[in-house]
């Protein structure tokens, strides 16, 4: 099975890029704001945790498909995603509005589903 196995290296690099976005860019955390940014076409990349409920995941993916925004399925649950964002709470989905100095959007266009 030639599955696109997420190696440790790429996982770390996503974390690094996310950290840079948190520091220098604009983002929103949480399902309601993610949909809001997708509706007003401000969001540029959406990251979803792996334990996001499947209905919610499908809904975000559908909105992102309509808005032609990439979706990245984070290799970790909402606890890990919250930690990766440097927050002390769980984050199930987040939307990057302005990547700042990070190249997170260029390095994963369309997202690797």
């Amino acid at each position: 099975m030639v599955a696109a196995k997420k190696t440790k290296k790429t996982h770390e690099s996503i974390n690094n890029r996310l950290a840079l976005v948190m520091k220098s860019g604009k983002y929103t955390l949480g399902y309601k704001t993610v949909l809001k940014t997708l509706r007003n076409s401000k969001g540029k990349l959406v990251i979803i945790a792996n334990n996001c409920p499947p209905l919610r995941k499908s809904e975000i993916e559908y909105y992102a498909m309509l808005a032609k925004v990439g979706v990245h399925h984070y290799n970790g649950n909402n606890v890990d995603l919250g930690t990766a964002c440097g927050k002390y709470y769980r984050v199930c989905c987040l939307s990057i509005i302005d990547p700042g100095d990070s190249d997170i959007i260029k390095s994963m266009p369309g997202g690797d589903h």
């Binding site: 949909l35 509706r39 007003n40 076409s41 969001g43 540029k44 809904e59 909105y63 498909m65 309509l66 808005a67 032609k68 925004v69």
Partner: protein, 135 residues
């Protein structure tokens, strides 16, 4: 990054009396108005879907079954589910925001919308829009 809530987009109303009904966006108010300080849009939707027409129905029965009852409403973006379908029906002159001020204006707007939607249904196009969403 593409704006998709545009006039002509088919949406499904999620909340309220018309929950589960399909509608088409007539006009957007992305930044809201003074009365509604949130993103909302004017939609015209189907209140009562046309019934299934069978080949052995008489012409009178077909006409009766192909009737569409429409509604016009201002809906918050949060209470809509956008779809990938569009319905390019010209409803802009028929349905305007000020047609929601009084009851009889609303009725005439809904009647106009009904007429346009019915003629679109009779052409057989946009079949998805006129089928009831099963849930």
């Amino acid at each position: 990054m593409v704006k998709f809530l545009k006039p002509g987009k088919a949406v499904v109303v999620l909340q309220g009396r018309y929950a589960g009904r399909k509608a088409v966006i007539v006009r957007n108010f992305d930044d809201g108005t003074r009365d509604r300080p949130y993103g909302h849009c004017l939609v015209a939707g189907i209140k009562k879907y046309p019934a299934k027409v069978v080949k052995k129905d008489s012409a009178k029965k077909t006409a009766k079954k192909s009737r569409v009852k429409a509604f016009v409403k201002l809906v918050n973006y949060r209470h809509l589910m956008p779809t990938r379908y569009t319905l390019d029906v010209d409803l802009k002159d028929a349905v305007a925001v000020d047609s929601l001020q009084s009851k009889d204006q609303k009725v005439t707007a809904a009647k106009e919308a009904k007429k346009r939607l019915e003629e679109r249904f009779k052409t057989g196009k946009n079949r998805w829009f006129f089928t009831k969403l099963r849930f």
